[in-house]
C-alpha cells in the first residue's frame, strides 16, 4: 500500500537531491583546494559570511536601543531596506504615470496616435542606457536610482495597460450599453476591471524590471543597497560576501515576486485562470 503522505515527503526530498549534490561538490572542490578558495569559497564559508552580514555588528546593549531595532541593524537588513525602498518608490511613481496614460491611450484613439510614436522611440532604450544621463541630471544618491527604476517600471505597465483596454471583449461593452451604462460607469466598472489581468501582468513585469535596474543603479550611482554591497565586496576580493549578497538579492526578489503573486490572486479571484482557495 502506498501512503500518500510518505509519497509527498519523498517527492519533496527528491527536490533537494540535486542542490545538495551540487553543494557537496562545491564544498569538496573548495576544501580540497582544487579550485582556489579565494575565487570560489566553500558554501559553509559563504553561509557563515551571510549570517555575519545579516546579524548586527555590535552586541546587544539595552541602554542604546530596543531589541527589535538592534536585530534589524545588521548591514544586510539596512541594504535590503534601501534597495526595497528604491524599488517601491520608483515602481509607484512609474505606475502612477503609466496607468492613466495607458488607460487613456487604450480607450481613445486620438490620444493613442498622439503619444504612440514617442513611446515607440523611447521604449526600446534599455533603462540601463539612461544611467549616464540620470547621473548628469540628478547627481548621485537616490534620485538617479529612482529615476532609472521609474523608467524600468513605466513601460511594461504602460504597454500592458494599453493592450488590456484594447482587448476588452466587445460583448461586455455591449452588455453594459444595453443596461444603460454611462461613459464613466463603462470605464470604471467594465473596462478597468476587464483590463486588470493585463495591468497586473504589466505591474509584475514592471517590478521585475525595477528590481534588475535597482541592482545596477546601486552599483553605479549610490553607496548603499544590495547592489552596491556586492560591488564593494569585489574591491576587497571578498568572494564569500559577493555570493552571500547575491543570495540575499535572490531572496528579496523572491519575496517581491511572492508579494505580487498574492496581490494578483487576491485581485483576480474572479478570473478563470486562477484556482480559488
Amino acid at each position: 500500500m502506498k501512503n500518500p503522505y510518505l509519497a509527498k515527503t519523498f517527492e519533496t526530498l527528491q527536490g533537494f537531491l540535486v542542490p545538495i549534490a551540487l553543494l557537496a561538490l562545491w564544498q569538496w572542490l573548495s576544501t580540497q583546494a582544487i579550485v582556489n578558495p579565494q575565487i570560489l569559497p566553500a558554501p559553509t564559508k559563504v553561509l557563515a559570511k551571510w549570517w555575519e552580514y545579516l546579524m548586527p555588528m555590535e552586541a546587544f546593549d539595552p541602554a542604546r536601543s530596543g531589541y527589535l531595532a538592534w536585530i534589524f541593524s545588521g548591514e544586510m537588513i539596512r541594504d535590503a531596506y534601501a534597495s526595497l525602498y528604491r524599488v517601491v518608490v520608483g515602481f509607484l511613481v512609474g505606475a502612477v504615470l503609466a496607468l492613466p496614460l495607458g488607460l487613456m491611450m487604450g480607450a481613445n484613439d486620438r490620444i493613442y496616435k498622439l503619444f504612440n510614436p514617442l513611446i515607440q522611440i523611447l521604449r526600446p532604450i534599455p533603462p540601463i542606457a539612461f544611467i549616464p544621463l540620470s547621473i548628469l541630471w540628478f547627481g548621485l544618491g537616490n534620485p538617479p536610482a529612482i529615476f532609472l527604476i521609474v523608467i524600468g517600471a513605466f513601460f511594461p505597465i504602460l504597454m500592458n495597460t494599453i493592450a488590456g483596454v484594447r482587448h476588452v471583449d466587445g460583448i461586455y461593452i455591449r452588455a453594459a450599453r444595453s443596461l444603460g451604462a454611462s461613459q464613466t460607469t463603462m470605464f470604471l466598472r467594465v473596462i478597468l476591471p476587464a483590463a486588470t489581468p493585463y495591468i497586473l501582468t504589466g505591474a509584475r513585469i514592471g517590478v521585475g524590471t525595477a528590481f534588475i535596474v535597482v541592482i545596477v543603479a546601486e552599483m553605479i550611482a549610490v553607496n548603499n543597497g544590495l547592489g552596491y554591497r556586492i560591488l564593494e565586496a569585489r574591491e576587497f576580493f571578498w568572494s564569500d560576501k559577493i555570493i552571500a549578497g547575491m543570495f540575499s538579492i535572490g531572496l528579496l526578489g523572491l519575496a517581491i515576486d511572492t508579494g505580487m503573486n498574492r496581490l494578483n490572486n487576491h485581485l483576480l479571484k474572479w478570473h478563470r485562470g486562477i484556482e480559488n482557495k
Binding site: S178, L179, W270
Partner: protein, 266 residues
C-alpha cells in the same frame, strides 16, 4: 381598439461592406410586433436573424429603413430593451448578485430597492445559493439564469434573446425554456427570440418568422395557436415542425450551395 405595435420594423435593410465585397444581410424587412408577443426569428446561420435583433437592440443600425419602439425610433441600445446573449456576457469580475444589481445601480436606485429586487430575482431563478459566486464557478445553464435575471431586474418591457440556449445541453435547455415561458406569462414581456432550432421556436413562440438566406427577407410569418405547455410529441406540433422544416431546409441548401460556390467566386 387598434393596438399600437410595440415594435415596428419598417423597410429595414442592412448592408455590410467588408473591403470591396458588399453583403446584403437584410432586405426590406417589415414586421409589427404587438405588446406581449413572443416572436421567434428562425433560419439557418447567415440569414440575418441576429442582425435584425441587433438592429432592434440598437447595437448596429440599419442602412435603410427605421425601427420604432413605442413609437420612438431606435438609435442606441437602452435598458428598455434587455438583451440576453448566447455567450451570457456576464461580467466575470462581479458576483452573481452584483451582476444582477448592476443595471439597477446604473439607474441610481436605493440600496434597499436594489436589495429587495435582487433578492426576489435570485429566488425566482433559484440562484439564492450562488449569490456570492463568480460566473466562472457556474454552469452554462446557471449563467444564463443570471443573465435573464439581470435583464428582468431592469423591468424592461422588451426582452431580446440571441440564441440564448444554443450552447446548453438539451435537458438544461428544456428547463430554461419552461422557466422563460413562466416568466413571460407572469410579466407579459414582448420577446424577440433568435434561434435556429425549429423545435425550440414551436415550443416557445406565438409567432415564428422564417427568414431567407442572404439577403435576409421574411419568407413566412407563421402563427402558433397551441396552448402552453406544448407537447412536442403531439401531431399538431409535428405537422408544424415538418412544414417549417421544409422551409428552413430550402434556405439551408441555398446556404450550402453558396458555401461551395464561394471559393471560386473571385
Amino acid at each position: 381598439m387598434i393596438m399600437q405595435p410595440h415594435i415596428q420594423i419598417s423597410k429595414v435593410s442592412k448592408v455590410f461592406s467588408t473591403g470591396e465585397r458588399e453583403v446584403a444581410a437584410l432586405d426590406d424587412i417589415n414586421l409589427d410586433i404587438k405588446p406581449g408577443e413572443f416572436v421567434c426569428l428562425l433560419g439557418p446561420s447567415g440569414c440575418g436573424k441576429s442582425t435584425l435583433l441587433n438592429a432592434v437592440a440598437g447595437f448596429s443600425l440599419p442602412t435603410a429603413g427605421v425601427i420604432h419602439v413605442n413609437g420612438k425610433p431606435v438609435q442606441a441600445p437602452g435598458p428598455d430593451r434587455g438583451m440576453v446573449f448566447q455567450e451570457y456576457a456576464l461580467f466575470p469580475w462581479m458576483t452573481v448578485e452584483n451582476n444582477i444589481a448592476f443595471g439597477l445601480e446604473i439607474q441610481k436606485q436605493t440600496k434597499a430597492q436594489i436589495g429587495e429586487k435582487v433578492g426576489a430575482l435570485l429566488e425566482m431563478l433559484k440562484l439564492q445559493d450562488f449569490r456570492d459566486r463568480y460566473p466562472k464557478d457556474l454552469s452554462g445553464g446557471m449563467r444564463q439564469r443570471v443573465a435573464i435575471a439581470r435583464v428582468l431586474a431592469l423591468d424592461s418591457p422588451i426582452m431580446l434573446m440571441d440564441e440564448p440556449f444554443g450552447a446548453l445541453d438539451s435537458l438544461t435547455r428544456r428547463n430554461l425554456q419552461d422557466e422563460l415561458l413562466r416568466i413571460w406569462m407572469e410579466f407579459r414581456k414582448t420577446i424577440i427570440f433568435v434561434t435556429h432550432s425549429i423545435e425550440e421556436s414551436i415550443y416557445l413562440a406565438d409567432r415564428i418568422i422564417v427568414m431567407t438566406y442572404r439577403p435576409g427577407k421574411i419568407k413566412k410569418d407563421v402563427s402558433v395557436n397551441m396552448p402552453h405547455p406544448r407537447d412536442p410529441s403531439s401531431a399538431e406540433f409535428n405537422d408544424l415542425k415538418k412544414e417549417l422544416g421544409l422551409l428552413v431546409m430550402e434556405e439551408q441548401s441555398r446556404h450550402n450551395q453558396e458555401e461551395i460556390k464561394a471559393p471560386t467566386a473571385d
